[in-house]
């Protein structure tokens, strides 16, 4: 049974979702199931990564059909790492949701849908089949739609219309790309496609196909000029939802880009330039977008976009160092962004406001909590030696190696703006004397929560904070992981062998 270890997280999430649906109205049972299930999931994910680390890439041929005929699930180090990150963020947000999401939403399927989302994320990371990836993307999309709109407030709906349209558009483009890919090769298995695509004579069509994937995934990853759905919507749902969105949703797009452009397509000159130009403009647009915002979650939203630029830049430079940098950044970013949106959620519960102009006093009123919040905030900035710092070493170093000076400049610019924005936010939200905000009668202020709820909200911030600190201070471990991932991505033979020859083993 250990051979199938890698799909256990999928099975677990699916089982959780189904069980949670049976417990439709019983929110306290749901909380218990969700948190304990997520804990189990974390244990599985840790074990999976360790197992993959020691025993190499693992595969499961679903239905016992050997590749490329069935659907293959693959856990290489990259996938296993992302599954682990999803598990970490998942556990954190599960707990945070238990504490923060208001009962009406919980009674309308919040938790089952949440676990369907985690299922989708895990599936997207683990699948080795391009159409299966599309299906996972769809479940991610539909769950995110529902989580985005659950409660149906005005802002939620307005944001959701844009989110919906543009993500559907991305799916259509993705599907178009799959159609072309299938039309050229007759295959869907990504490992098989590596060889099949290489064998296609018409390289122009291969390039066209690659560009279609680039645009499709680019929308999901929220890169310039395709990111519009993100700032329009991320600040509208409950904070718990924003957290999982901010941490993981765009990263699936990044994952897919990295996977497709290391496994199936080779970067030619055009693609490389396109990626780098996109990266630079993404860094730029995201950064300056964050400067002008006043809503905490909007600031974070733009920073989500901005920092995607780092990863795309790493992919575009396509050296082992660069990819390692991108992967390291991805690891760091998932943890930190999830945490930041949770922080914004706690701040909201404290003051019932998201506007940094109106907020204030938090350092004076909640000093320990503020210091706790410093961890994700400064990790995000990449204050050395916190987690965001290390990948920049790789990225800038790779920039010098490949003589991409504009990329270096953009990375520095984005880092600087991030620093500035976070520091400004700190000054406004934590230091300043805030406005006198009206007391809302029914608002679930933090102080009115039960102590269990308080713990459920703060503990995940502590947990992710500790993970961030681990990433920063034990950067060696993470860098080794990132390097091995980069190595495996660039030398994809192990992946291909694991998928295509596993039946013969």
């Amino acid at each position: 049974m250990i051979e199938q270890l890698l799909i256990y997280p999928l099975l677990l999430q699916m089982a959780l979702a189904i069980i949670l649906m049976f417990a439709w109205n019983n929110t306290s049972t749901q909380k218990f199931i969700s948190i304990s299930g997520s804990t189990l999931n974390l244990a599985l994910a840790v074990y999976l990564l360790m197992y993959v680390w020691q025993n190499g890439t693992q595969t499961v041929q679903a239905g016992n059909w050997e590749a490329p005929f069935g659907i293959t699930f693959v856990a290489d180090t990259f996938s296993a790492t992302l599954v682990l990150l999803t598990a970490i963020a998942g556990l954190a947000v599960s707990s945070f949701s238990s504490g923060s999401v208001i009962p009406p939403r919980l009674k309308f399927g919040y938790f089952p849908i949440f676990h369907f989302l985690l299922l989708g994320l895990n599936g997207a990371f683990l699948t080795g089949d391009i159409f299966n990836l599309y299906v996972w993307f769809e479940i991610i999309i539909i769950t995110s739609f529902v989580l985005l709109t659950i409660g149906g407030e005005k802002a939620q709906l307005e944001g959701a219309v844009k989110y919906f349209t543009l993500n559907i558009l991305a799916s259509v483009i993705f599907l178009t790309a799959i159609a072309v890919l299938y039309g050229l090769t007759g295959s869907l298995n990504m490992a098989d496609l590596a060889a099949q695509v290489a064998a296609v004579e018409n390289r122009t069509l291969v390039q066209v196909n690659a560009l279609l994937f680039l645009v499709g995934f680019g929308i999901k990853a929220a890169v310039f000029p395709l990111y519009f759905w993100l700032p329009a919507s991320y600040h509208t749902p409950p904070s718990a939802v924003s957290s999982i969105f901010g941490g993981l949703l765009t990263k699936v797009g990044v994952y897919a880009l990295i996977r497709v452009f290391t496994l199936i397509f080779e970067l030619d000159n055009l693609l490389e330039n396109v990626l780098l130009v996109i990266a630079v403009l993404t860094l730029f647009s995201g950064a300056i977008g964050a400067i002008v915002q006043n809503n905490i979650r909007k600031i974070f939203s733009y920073l989500v976009i901005c920092h995607i630029g780092y990863m795309i830049a790493g992919l575009g430079m396509m050296t082992e160092v660069a990819i390692a940098g991108a992967v390291f950044y991805l690891i760091h970013d998932i943890i930190v962004k999830t945490n930041l949106f949770m922080v914004s959620g706690v701040i909201y519960k404290l003051k019932a406001n998201h506007n940094i102009k109106k907020l204030g006093d938090i350092y004076a009123d909640f000093p320990k909590m503020s210091l706790l919040f410093v961890i994700p905030l400064f990790s995000l900035v990449g204050i050395p030696p916190l987690s965001g710092f290390w990948p920049k070493l790789s990225l800038i170093g790779a920039g010098w190696d490949t003589e991409n000076y504009v990329v270096i400049g953009s990375i520095l610019f984005a880092s600087f703006v991030t620093l500035f924005v976070i520091v400004k936010l700190w000054g406004e939200v934590f230091w300043k004397n805030g406005e006198k905000l009206p007391e809302l009668r029914n608002f679930p202020y933090f102080k009115t929560l039960t102590s269990v709820q308080k713990v459920q909200m703060v503990a995940p911030i502590v947990f992710l904070g500790l993970v961030s600190l681990y990433i920063g201070f034990a950067a060696e471990n993470i860098q080794q992981l990132a390097s091995r991932i980069a190595f495996e991505l660039l030398d994809n033979q192990e992946y291909i062998d694991a998928v295509l020859n596993s039946a013969k083993k």
């Binding site: 979702a17 679903a62 239905g63 009406p104 483009i173 520091v423 029914n442």
Partner: protein, 772 residues
């Protein structure tokens, strides 16, 4: 040494949890931490002065070549002693200065963190580790400047300071990585040996520019100096410690540290002389226009930092010795002056030098300390300031062609620095004690003793310069790559030209002090020129950036979904279209591979095409929906014709259900109006047709390519034999690719849950505020 560095951090961490115990009388105990460290570092003086270099090595992130290798040589030792020594006095002083302050524990926490970071900075041999600590000093500085965080001015100053030093930090990072890449190591010790290769590399210029960026921002060189006067918003102990004695000298440290690696080249020396020269004179002049004691001191600090850069730029052994001495001199007297200012501020409640006078009558020991510091800053014998100033003139006079200009510059600067020192150290204590200050009393000894100690030290080592010459200054000079044989510190060089220059300096300075009283009027007058001051220019630039950002963000994130869609489609069409028509393979379509057209297919397509147009042009919602239905049915028939019965069934059922859905909600859907104007329709039409055409062309070219059908053939061959089904499509759905289907029904389930919650979950009016 790691322990030494970490002790600062541990101390801060400790205060986070045990802070409340340290707000009261126990606070002074925290001074034991720097004191212990001072003793620890002092114990190395002998070994270091004998030329030994003490190293300690710890692994950290070997993958990046980053380690915690610490090196204690003369330069590091000087800085370590300053950091811990002045740290000790400042810690002690603070216990009194902020006695009873609500956040005293925080303050100590930041100070401890800063001390640790600063020690790390000066001890690291690894460039990246050095950078790590470098940034941490900026962060501690940020928290300390913003300590009075409810004041908007404090917050602004903190952010501005961090913005400037932080941007320098990023340049530093880029430079470090470049340098590390060129050298193949991040070890500074190893880089010294590789100096010729580094200087010879094509990246040398880049490296120098980037490191200068770091040093100039941190050490407040023109035009990046402006953050430092703002940093005076911090409580005085901070100004004393960070913004005069230690942190601002990190840039100086960096330049000194890299002199043996990168120095000796013209670009290095010239740039430093010019920037240092401008800085020292420009800011010295500024002291004439300040009335706030801390403002005066801030500008004079910048001026001295300029002098130091200037000296490093001169680059001779004289100059570097002068720099080493000047670091000590300045640390001693400027710290004293700041502490004195702090006392004045603390006791009288004002730092406005125009209203301060006669305070000697109420605080004689403070006045003495101020006086000693002032004469040291003036470079009067027998203070160490005198020794330092002599060395400066000595250095400038050795500069050949430029010696006259440089010397005059140095003299002018020193005159003004003298003025500033007198204004800060003497002016408040002389003259008549105003009525409202008559009740002012002596501060506790914890406050007046530290400046007194520093002032006396300045006097003592002025009289016995050998006290620091051998043990410390020589070490610094050797550490920066000089022989250390040429120059020996002496108080008295006899009557010579340099003494004459000193005399001129003193005379002019004292004259200036008596002729030009600090005045508000002057301060206001200079404010008129603020608009061309670097700070204002940079702030204007910043506001320009803000406006540009605002514009850019509004242009792209303009709120109009249609613009978002058009942008994405345009991007796709241009990119993919470019690729399709400019790729290796010329665009071609192989019509011969296509099947024959039959009339019924054409009719079907015709109907479908017209229906689509009908949908697009329909005036009413229902008509559009009905026409959509026709499109769906046509597709269904198409699936029949092209051998896909399962698809036909599914398409038809789903189409019907979609129609039902529409019909059920149609009356609550908005009216079906044509809102967009004619021009938009044309533009959108062109874009859409371009997009559609692109898809058509791509698909035709793909169809002209051969395709491998192994996978499908496998399904067909094994559907019955292995999977026991004859409808291959269904076998694929439930077996070969059953995982797709499992997720697909999950998608459906979630969609249904979504519909359910969208329609059933209505927050009641009372629940509107129930937010999460």
């Amino acid at each position: 040494m790691l322990t030494a560095i970490l002790s600062g951090f541990f101390f801060s961490l400790f205060l986070v949890f045990a802070g409340k115990f340290f707000k009261g009388k126990l606070a002074v105990l925290s001074a034991l931490v720097p004191l212990g460290l001072f003793v620890y570092f002092a114990s190395f003086i002998k070994r270091v002065s004998e030329g030994e270099i003490i190293t300690q090595q710890y692994e950290w992130v070997p993958s990046f070549g980053v380690n915690l290798n610490f090196t204690l040589d003369g330069l590091s030792l000087l800085f370590s002693l300053l950091i811990t020594g002045i740290g000790f006095l400042v810690f002690a002083y603070t216990a009194e200065y902020l006695k009873g302050h609500k956040y005293l524990d925080r303050f100590y926490g930041y100070l401890g963190m800063f001390m640790g970071a600063m020690l790390g900075l000066v001890l690291s041999d690894n460039l990246i580790s050095l950078f790590v600590f470098w940034e941490l000093t900026s962060i501690s500085s940020f928290f300390l400047i913003g300590f009075n965080n409810t004041s908007q001015a404090s917050r602004r100053s903190a952010i501005l300071a961090l913005a400037v030093t932080g941007s320098g930090g990023f340049l530093f990072l880029a430079g470090s990585l470049l340098l590390g890449g060129v050298a193949g190591t991040y070890s500074i010790t190893e880089m010294v040996n590789l100096s010729p290769e580094i200087i010879g590399s094509p990246f040398y210029l880049w490296i120098v520019i980037l490191l200068f960026g770091a040093a100039f921002t941190k050490s407040a060189q023109f035009p990046f100096h402006f953050w430092l006067p703002g940093a005076m918003k911090a409580p005085t102990p901070v100004s004393t410690y960070l913004h005069s004695a230690t942190m601002v000298k990190a840039g100086i440290y960096l330049l000194l540290r890299f002199t043996p690696v990168l120095g000796g080249e013209e670009i290095w020396n010239t740039t430093l002389i010019i920037i240092g020269g401008i800085t020292m004179f420009y800011s010295a002049v500024h002291t004439l226009f300040r009335t706030d004691l801390k403002g005066v001191l801030a500008y004079s600090t910048i001026s001295v930092l300029g002098i130091l850069v200037f000296l490093i730029g001169l680059g001779t052994e004289y100059a570097l010795t002068a720099a080493a001495v000047y670091i000590v001199v300045h640390a001693l007297y400027k710290a004293t002056l700041f502490l004195v200012t702090g006392i004045i501020d603390h006791e009288t409640g004002t730092r406005d030098v125009t209203v301060l006078s006669g305070l000697r009558k109420v605080m004689m020991p403070v006045a003495i300390a101020g006086f000693l510091a002032a004469i040291s800053s003036a470079g009067m014998p027998p203070t160490i300031g005198f020794v330092g100033k002599d060395l400066v003139y000595e250095s400038t006079l050795h500069m050949g062609d430029w010696s006259t200009v440089l010397t005059i510059l140095a003299i002018s600067t020193n005159v003004l620095v003298l003025y500033a020192g007198f204004v800060a150290g003497i002016k408040p204590f002389t003259g008549r004690l105003p009525e409202r200050h008559s009740k002012v009393h002596m501060p506790g000894f914890l406050m007046w003793l530290p400046p007194m100690i520093l002032a006396l030290l300045g006097l003592i080592i002025g009289i016995y310069p050998a006290f620091i010459d051998g043990p410390i200054v020589k070490g610094v000079v050797k550490a920066v790559g000089m022989a250390g044989e040429e120059v020996h510190l002496k108080l008295w060089h006899g009557f010579n030209f340099i003494l004459l220059l000193s005399a001129i300096t003193l005379t002019l300075g004292i004259l200036l002090y008596f002729l030009l009283k600090p005045s508000k009027k002057r301060e206001k007058a200079i404010a008129k020129f603020d608009f061309i001051a670097p700070k204002e220019l940079i702030l204007k630039f910043g506001s320009g950036v803000w406006h540009f950002s605002n514009l850019w963000t509004r242009v792209f994130q303009n709120g109009f979904l249609r613009n978002y869609v058009s942008t994405i489609i345009l991007f796709l069409v241009v990119l993919v279209g470019y690729s399709l028509f400019n790729g290796e393979q010329e665009f071609y379509i192989d019509f011969s591979s296509f099947s024959r057209m039959t009339y019924y297919e054409m009719i079907l397509m015709g109907i479908m095409f017209l229906s689509v147009l009908f949908v697009v042009g329909a005036r009413s919602r229902l008509t559009a929906v009905v026409a959509m239905g026709v499109v769906g049915y046509a597709i269904c028939l198409m699936f029949v014709i092209y051998s896909a019965p399962d698809l036909a069934m599914t398409q038809f059922s789903i189409d019907t259900l979609t129609v039902i859905l529409f019909v059920l909600v149609l009356s609550s859907l908005p009216k079906y109006l044509s809102i967009s104007d004619y021009k938009m329709r044309i533009i959108d039409g062109v874009l859409s047709i371009g997009f559609g055409l692109l898809i058509t062309l791509i698909s035709l070219e793909v169809l002209s390519e051969p395709v491998n059908k192994d996978v499908s053939n496998f399904y067909a061959d094994n559907a019955y034999i292995l999977a026991k089904g004859k409808n291959v499509v269904n076998v694929i759905l439930v077996d070969f690719r059953g995982s797709d289907t499992l997720i697909e029904i999950s998608v459906l389930t979630v969609a249904a849950l979504g519909v359910f919650s969208l329609l059933k979950l209505r927050l009641k009016r009372d629940d509107r505020e129930l937010k999460d």
